[in-house]
């Protein structure tokens, strides 16, 4: 339920400007922030560090998640081997100690990598809130070009200071190709 309506009377999610170069998008991001907008969406066909810096950058939490995954894999993998080989199923193999920790390093290494990799992928999905099959941005027909060669800036109505007239003014000053209303 939005406070604002589109020209056709539908609920408004935000205003989206289309740009034909990454530099224009970066400049527009700064203009929108200077105008006081905070809930911005910047969409690019490939990763551009400058855009991320322009909208709202904080360090990714992903490395910590991956570290946690790796530690769980390392400790879990070793403990599995220790528990089975020493506690529940001790076998004398050529007189080697039950806790053959040197030999256990190899599977423990593999479980470390396995759990850290899952943490990296699932952590990335979680931080990006994927899978996310529906998003209002997809209602804009031109948005299909965001995965080709166009750059988009979205100012959402979730912004506490959102005002459709002022948002349009700000976006118009940034030399966009076109500006579209985004239906919710």
């Amino acid at each position: 339920m939005s406070r604002f309506k589109t020209a056709e009377g539908k609920n408004l999610y935000g205003l989206m400007a289309e740009f034909d170069s990454p530099d224009k998008l970066v400049a527009a991001c700064y203009s929108a922030r200077d105008a006081g907008f905070r809930r911005l969406g910047a969409y690019t066909p490939y990763p551009i560090e400058a855009v991320w810096e322009a909208i709202d950058h904080h360090r990714s939490k992903l490395p910590l998640i991956v570290l946690a995954g790796g530690l769980i894999g390392a400790i879990g993998g070793f403990m599995l081997q220790y528990w089975t080989s020493v506690e529940v199923y001790p076998m004398n193999i050529g007189g080697r100690p039950f806790n053959s920790w040197v030999a256990f390093i190899v599977p423990a290494f593999e479980t470390t990598i396995l759990c850290a990799s899952f943490a990296a992928v699932l952590g990335m999905f979680a931080l990006n809130k994927l899978p996310h099959p529906y998003h209002p941005a997809f209602n804009v027909e031109r948005f299909a070009e965001a995965s080709r060669d166009r750059y988009f800036l979205l100012i959402t109505t979730k912004d506490p200071d959102f005002d459709p007239v002022r948002a349009r003014e700000v976006l118009e000053r940034t030399h966009p190709v076109e500006i579209n209303e985004v239906e919710e």
């Binding site: 709202d56 990799s117 992928v121």
Partner: protein, 463 residues
């Protein structure tokens, strides 16, 4: 070569042909997937699919009859199954090397070959995985290899390299698949946006997880991708190391050697690059991808193949040297047996394929001719299979006691299953090039001048 650098002498050919923009790159690569299926694809896929039936029939008969249909017996208990397993898993290594290690080393040219090299890794590991499973004799009990609570109260012996192999290979397959899928997500979004048919939009949209290219998403994405590369790098080295432990931990002369892990890893990369070249050269012709997979890629890969080939050649020398240096009569005999024993043809052929043939890469004219490089790569493909044959069979066939010597050769079923896995590999590959972008579209966009400029400008603004 005529296509890109007119005389082949002045400087290096470019990584990407000039004149491309994000739009042309996107349209060119996605069109391969979205256009109508070319007729030759049906022919190629059909042949591969028929060849794959050899594998299916072979496995069906194997399950029905038992491993007696193979040539393995005492004293050679490891035959084609292990040779093919090591050969396939080695081939897979180049994909991970290109996608992970060359990424960390900032080798920009990897961008246009990493996607299908990773796909090749997955399919090669799939082919490799078939063999240990059917080699256990009762494949329906293969899950006993895994540690799981069971009513028998049994657990695997974690001191055995064979169990290490289970962990290494299954981790490798899983992580390669994750890495490949993560790399595909933005390109699946491109296909979703570019396809006109509704069902295609739904399928690609579902697979792309609703990727929108938000700047915050890209940020987490790049961190994830880099971390995966960092994790895959030690993993790929560990996999063939563990495979070599299957041999090196044994006491058989010719297996019990400390050089095995590095020698196996170099051999794996050598075989893998040969296979990437074997696939890349015809694919760039068939799909008109010479703008993206240029002579530069072929030259670079050929050079890596030559380098790793030299390491493998050094490995052969050290094996011979150590046999005599050890003063151990069994080791000495093992080498002499390889050179002049019943499998001498295999040994000499492997030297021709793996040591002599790659030396042609030193010649600039060979490096500049894709089809000559292709020819060398074919030699290496054969040579690396022979290498595994020589390692597995010569040592087992004549061990410590002459009274227990024997000979080995593959039966028609051995060959059927081996050739069948080549059919499986090619079938998977043809499905891949038909339904997924074989070149990473979003990464290609990042190496365009347009993308590089924006990085430079903001660098100044920041400073």
């Amino acid at each position: 070569m005529a296509d890109l650098s007119p005389d082949g002498r002045m400087g290096k050919p470019p990584v990407l042909a000039p004149g491309h923009t994000p739009a042309t790159v996107t349209d060119h690569i996605s069109a391969i997937v979205l256009r109508q299926t070319p007729r030759w694809w049906w022919v190629a896929f059909g042949i591969s699919f028929l060849v794959m039936q050899l594998l299916l029939v072979g496995i069906a008969y194997l399950v029905f009859e038992g491993v007696g249909i193979w040539g393995v017996n005492n004293p050679v208990g490891w035959g084609f199954a292990i040779i093919n397993f090591v050969w396939w898993i080695g081939i897979g290594h180049a994909g991970t090397l290109i996608s992970a290690i060359l990424l960390l080393l900032r080798q920009e040219w990897r961008t246009s070959i990493n996607r299908f090299a990773e796909a090749m890794t997955l399919f090669a590991v799939a082919c490799a995985g078939v063999f240990p499973l059917i080699h256990v004799g009762r494949p329906w009990l293969a899950y006993w290899l895994l540690p799981y609570p069971n009513t028998m109260g049994l657990w695997p012996n974690f001191r055995s390299p064979l169990i290490w192999d289970v962990f290494a290979v299954s981790t490798y397959a899983t992580v390669s698949a994750l890495f490949w899928y993560v790399g595909l997500i933005p390109d699946l979004a491109t296909l979703r946006d570019r396809s006109r048919r509704r069902w295609k939009k739904i399928v690609y949209g579902f697979a792309s997880m609703g990727w929108r290219g938000h700047a915050a998403h890209w940020h987490n994405y790049e961190v994830a991708y880099l971390l995966l590369a960092g994790l895959a790098t030690p993993l790929v080295v560990s996999v063939h190391t563990v495979v070599s432990f299957d041999f090196a931990v044994g006491q058989i002369a010719g297996w019990h050697a400390t050089i095995f892990p590095p020698y196996f890893v170099a051999g794996a990369v050598f075989a893998g690059f040969a296979m990437v070249l074997t696939l890349a050269i015809p694919l760039r012709e068939a799909f008109g991808l010479k703008d993206f997979i240029t002579l530069r890629h072929i030259q670079n890969m050929a050079k890596i193949m030559l380098t790793t080939g030299l390491i493998v050649g050094y490995g052969y020398l050290v094996e011979i040297f150590l046999a005599f240096y050890s003063g151990n009569q069994y080791e000495e005999f093992m080498i002499l047996n390889r050179i002049q024993g019943p499998y001498k043809i295999h040994w000499w052929a492997l030297l021709l394929c793996n040591v002599l043939a790659p030396q042609l890469i030193w010649v600039r004219r060979v490096r500049n001719s894709p089809w000559l490089v292709f020819l060398v790569a074919m030699f290496v493909n054969v040579g690396m299979w022979l290498e595994r044959f020589v390692i597995v069979v010569t040592s087992l066939s004549r061990d410590f006691l002459p009274s227990s010597w024997g000979t080995y050769s593959g039966t028609r079923w051995d060959w059927a299953i081996y050739v069948g896995t080549i059919g499986l590999f090619l079938s998977l590959l043809f499905l891949f090039v038909r339904f997924l972008p074989m070149i990473s579209i979003f990464e290609m966009r990042t190496i365009l001048p347009e993308a590089k400029d924006v990085h430079k400008k903001t660098g100044k603004a920041q400073g």
